[in-house]
């Protein structure tokens, strides 16, 4: 026969201070776990959503990032005649793009980071769903005008509409702010590709973005481009291209998160053990009474384990409450694949909360096993005689 749940809940409220202290200890562990994981998740989600499923990005063979890629005008020409590229009338949906970086100070700081400037073609924004201008207007082709993602304007100095910034010897004017639906492009500044190329005195592009009609065409075209010995180019699905960038930053974060929260969990587990040993010791006589009443060793053990898990679950609740406001925090760091700023939100997602619950309950379980075992092994006579 099992002890009623009420028994556990009553016991938790008798020693409110101890219960709360132990719960908060577990809560802080859960909070730190969620903090680090939410940061990694933010980076992951930003990069994972950035690639369109039916876009191919074409880079120079051997390059690992857009920054060290190069596609000449001849290569671009050859590309646009390939079968499989989606067409709008006569116009192939192929967008040559160039990128460069500028260094800007963050707001309120003298230091800053690199921001990616992307020179885009007329079809570029059509190849990127989620793009929308939020204020101002689009830049005019051929002019030294720029549109800036709203997040960059919020985080860096001198990036509002009307402000000017310099790329090499040319001053660009900000004429509009845009949103990109939480994608990596929200960390960029967009200008006209031909204007950027003349500013940076470059005759070629960094990459070409292609739209294909369906998955099968995509695989065929990817193979066709990468296998062509004359082209010396490689095509990657845009989705995979961005997913590969996650590896570094979020991998380090996840590793760090697991390491920190595991060690904290061990510490919190010891604390939980102390609490439970004290609870067992205090209730020795009670346990004896329960045994006399006919409750089995097993139900005594279950009761103590449950009690500890309850404390842990309260702790998880506290931890989640502490971590949830992070969802509102937007932050940025450097993406060391592209050497430039990547802006993102902390993302405390439901599945992270679930894993936090399992993690926290696990701490409670770990902390309670030995004390509960001890309680279940009392001899009835000795237990009743305890002071």
């Amino acid at each position: 026969m099992a002890l009623p749940i009420k028994y556990n809940l009553r016991n938790l409220t008798v020693r409110k201070g101890t219960t709360l202290a132990t719960a908060i200890t577990i809560g802080l562990t859960v909070m730190v776990y969620l903090m680090v994981m939410a940061l990694a998740r933010g980076i992951d989600l930003t990069l994972a959503s950035s690639g369109e499923p039916l876009n191919l990005i074409v880079l120079r063979n051997g390059s690992t990032a857009e920054l060290n890629s190069n596609v000449s005008r001849e290569q671009l020409n050859a590309l646009t005649y390939l079968d499989g590229i989606e067409r709008d009338g006569d116009q192939p949906l192929a967008a040559p793009e160039s990128i460069t970086l500028i260094y800007r100070a963050r707001k309120g700081m003298s230091q800053g980071s690199n921001i990616t400037i992307r020179g885009i073609g007329p079809v570029s924004s059509r190849l990127r769903s989620g793009f929308s201008l939020v204020s101002g207007r689009m830049f005019q082709q051929g002019l030294a005008e720029a549109i800036v993602s709203r997040r960059i304007a919020e985080r860096f100095q001198g990036m509002e509409i009307g402000d000017k910034f310099r790329i090499q010897a040319t001053d660009y004017t900000v004429v509009g702010l845009f949103d990109a639906g939480g994608k990596a492009f929200e960390s960029e500044i967009w200008v006209d590709v031909n204007s950027l190329n003349s500013t940076t005195k470059r005759d070629s592009f960094t990459s070409v973005l292609l739209r294909v009609p369906d998955r099968a065409t995509m695989d065929a075209l990817e193979k066709r481009i990468s296998d062509d010995q004359r082209l010396q180019l490689k095509a990657v699905s845009e989705r995979k291209f961005y997913e590969d960038q996650q590896g570094t930053a979020s991998g380090i974060l996840k590793g760090l998160g697991v390491f920190i929260s595991f060690i904290m969990a061990v510490g919190a587990g010891f604390a939980g053990m102390n609490t439970m040993y004290a609870a067992v010791a205090r209730r020795t006589k009670e346990v004896g009474t329960l045994r006399v009443l006919g409750f089995s060793r097993r139900s005594i053990m279950t009761a103590f384990v449950l009690e500890s898990v309850f404390i842990a679950v309260i702790g998880v609740g506290i931890g989640i409450l502490l971590a949830l406001p992070l969802n509102l925090v937007s932050t940025g760091t450097s993406n060391f694949v592209t050497f430039s700023e990547i802006a993102f939100n902390f993302r405390v997602t439901p599945d992270l909360m679930l894993s936090a619950l399992i993690f926290g309950a696990g701490i409670g379980l770990f902390g309670s096993l030995l004390p509960s075992l001890r309680a279940s092994r009392f001899k009835i006579v000795d237990a009743l005689r305890a002071s």
């Binding site: 201070g17 051997g62 904290m264 010891f270 604390a271 040993y277 760091t333 050497f339």
Partner: protein
């Protein structure tokens, strides 16, 4: 301390509880020391920068190269003692997993620009005299087993080029996970579009007081060219790199604060349990004539002793672990992963603070009870 025996007896009364509390302290301090060491390494570049060294880069971004001809022009600026190209090659040894930094430099000047890099004289000569020569840091030897005379091929995705080097020396000091090779050799091996360019130029000044003037002179010299420069002291350069990390620092401090607070709760909870259980004893002590202050101090002493033992073990274990496993081998840019003495001292102080802060409330409460109250307690 005539009561030290009593304090010790009290601590050993519930051995399991003391053991668990100390274990909790040990793991928390270990974690705090680890995080603090990561933070130290993040900012080491700016803290230990050579005050005589300057770095010139393209004013827009590190991603743009400078013409190699700038080297000669900068060398002629008064107060400049040495200049060398310092170009990131981004070469990969066999597999991307093996990432380490590799720079193309002027081998004749490297030792003057980076006095922290130490190597036997014959190896310097070997490096200078072999166009294809390279030198590697001691930690690369540990990681990849490089030896003098060995041929190494690096593949650079930036230039889409493979280059073969012959190891001519093994240095110690500075970042020992770097490979240096000759810029002339790099220049010959690159395709036309990448020739005659350098990533950055490292300058050694004659005196620290020359730094601001050199930086101004250099930057105004190239102001109206296609490749304007930004020349900063090594410290400023390192700081701009650290700033690129964004709010990592605040984030880490936040985690450390959470760990400390949780440790405080663990200790306070344990001490509260110990003190409460002994309420009746306190009544007896009071009846025997012990003063309130003495009784409170007995508890504080007990908590402090537990904290001290935990701190000593935590610090000892951290030092032992990081001395036997050198994590800096696996983390780019980290020069060492041995906790700094200041970090250890701070961790110790933190433990003592937690020790005192966690017991004050319980100790005051119990020692302030009247004899009758304390003896009547049902704990």
């Amino acid at each position: 301390m005539k009561y030290s025996k009593l304090i010790l007896k009290n601590i050993l009364r519930n051995k399991r509880r003391t053991f668990l509390t100390i274990s909790s302290l040990v793991v928390s301090l270990f974690l705090i020391i680890t995080l603090a060491t990561i933070l130290t390494e993040f900012t080491r570049g700016s803290k230990e920068a050579n005050p005589m060294r300057l770095i010139t880069r393209h004013s827009v971004s590190l991603a743009f190269p400078l013409p190699v001809a700038y080297q000669q022009r900068i060398a002629a600026v008064p107060g400049v003692k040495h200049v060398t190209p310092f170009s990131w090659f981004g070469g990969i040894y066999k597999d991307e997993k093996n990432f380490f930094a590799n720079f193309a430099v002027d081998p004749r000047i490297l030792r003057d620009i980076t006095p922290e890099v130490k190597m036997p004289e014959d190896q310097w000569q070997g490096f200078i005299n072999d166009r294809q020569g390279a030198i590697v840091g001691q930690k690369l030897v540990t990681l990849h087993g490089f030896s003098v005379g060995q041929r190494i091929t690096l593949k650079s995705p930036i230039y889409n080029a493979d280059m073969e080097f012959i190891v001519r020396g093994i240095y110690t000091g500075g970042d020992e996970k770097t490979l240096y090779f000759s810029h002339e050799y790099l220049n010959e091996s690159l395709p036309d579009w990448a020739k005659d360019k350098v990533g950055t130029l490292f300058i050694m000044a004659s005196a620290p007081s020359d730094i601001p003037r050199i930086s101004q002179t250099v930057d105004s010299m190239f102001l109206n060219t296609d490749a304007p420069t930004k020349t900063e002291s090594e410290r400023e350069f390192a700081q701009s790199f650290e700033a690129m990390m964004g709010s990592v620092k605040q984030f880490m401090y936040g985690i450390m604060a959470a760990i400390t607070f949780s440790l405080l709760l663990v200790m306070a909870n344990t001490m509260a349990m110990s003190v409460r259980e002994r309420t009746r004893e306190v009544g007896t002590l009071k009846a025997l004539g012990f003063q309130r202050g003495t009784i409170a101090w007995l508890f504080v002493g007990e908590s402090l002793l537990v904290a001290t033992v935990g701190a000593a073990l935590g610090i000892g274990i951290a030092v032992m672990v990081f001395r036997s496993i050198d994590l800096s081998l696996y983390i780019p840019n980290f020069i060492s992963f041995i906790p700094a003495p200041e970090t250890l001292a701070a961790a110790f102080a933190l433990a003592l603070f937690v020790g005192v802060a966690s017991v004050i409330y319980s100790a005051r409460r119990v020692s302030g009870m009247t004899i009758a109250e304390a003896l009547r307690s049902t704990e």
